[in-house]
Amino acid sequence: MSDVKKFMYLNRRAPYGTIYAWESLEVVLIGAAFDQEVSLMFVDDGVFQLVKGSDTSELDMKNFTPTYRTLGDYGVRHMYVDKASLEARGLTQDDLVEVAWEDWETEEEVDNIVEIVDSEQIAKLLAESDVVFSF
């Protein structure tokens, strides 16, 4: 096993109704210090976590939706969204936040690392990971 592990964060719940989305995001933020290869997967109601335009002022809750946009700065290299889950919810990529990524050493840049994938790709990505965190 190499020194760098492939971490996959599996998100399947809607935001705000429960704390799982936010507390799993906290793990990703903290995990940035550990230099692993980090990907996030959004399936089922988890795709709602990436919907932009959130305004929690009337609920008096912390709005963590903008935090997703910064994940590129926290070493997250891939954010995958299940195509079937997205379509069932009447959503398209336009409804989701964009997350830019830049490698400071190579100056490689990616405008948006949020990528829509199908079931087969998801199964493969999960299988190829070294650790799957489920929330």
Partner: protein
């Protein structure tokens, strides 16, 4: 109108606790009577004074306490649920040999009969849960 509110989930983990708070506050502001807020299941965790939520987030426990102070609300934690989950007042600490308490001010621990009584006495029971 005389209302009873039941809260089945703990703070932060589930929005039910927020919904119950906002609903109760709105009802009081409209002049309705809230006879009792009964905390059951993990809902009893709303009644601990030991929470320290992040600075940039709401303080759910304190919100309940302030609402109770303003409107003289009856906030009741179910004793059986509280015992399972480690919410303790002085009486409970003494009875069960615990060396500390963690109940927040304005909350009290009592039996499930308080829920039944509230349901009998009130015009409506509104349940918030998972």
């Amino acid at each position: 109108m005389k209302l009873a509110v039941q809260v089945n989930e703990g703070p932060y983990q589930h929005e039910a606790s927020d919904s119950a708070y906002h609903f109760t506050k709105a009802a009081l502001e409209k002049g309705h009577e809230v006879f009792r807020v009964f905390f059951y299941h993990d809902g009893v965790l709303n009644g601990t004074r030991l929470t320290t939520p992040p600075q940039d987030d709401r303080n759910i426990v304190n919100r309940w306490v302030e609402l109770a102070e303003k409107y003289d609300l009856d906030l009741v934690l179910c004793v059986a649920a509280a015992q399972r989950r480690g919410i303790v007042d002085e009486g409970e600490a003494e009875r069960n040999g615990k060396d500390a308490t963690n109940i927040a001010p304005k909350f009290r621990i009592s039996g499930l009969g308080q829920l039944i009584e509230a349901a009998i006495q009130c015009d409506r029971l509104v349940v918030f849960g998972d």
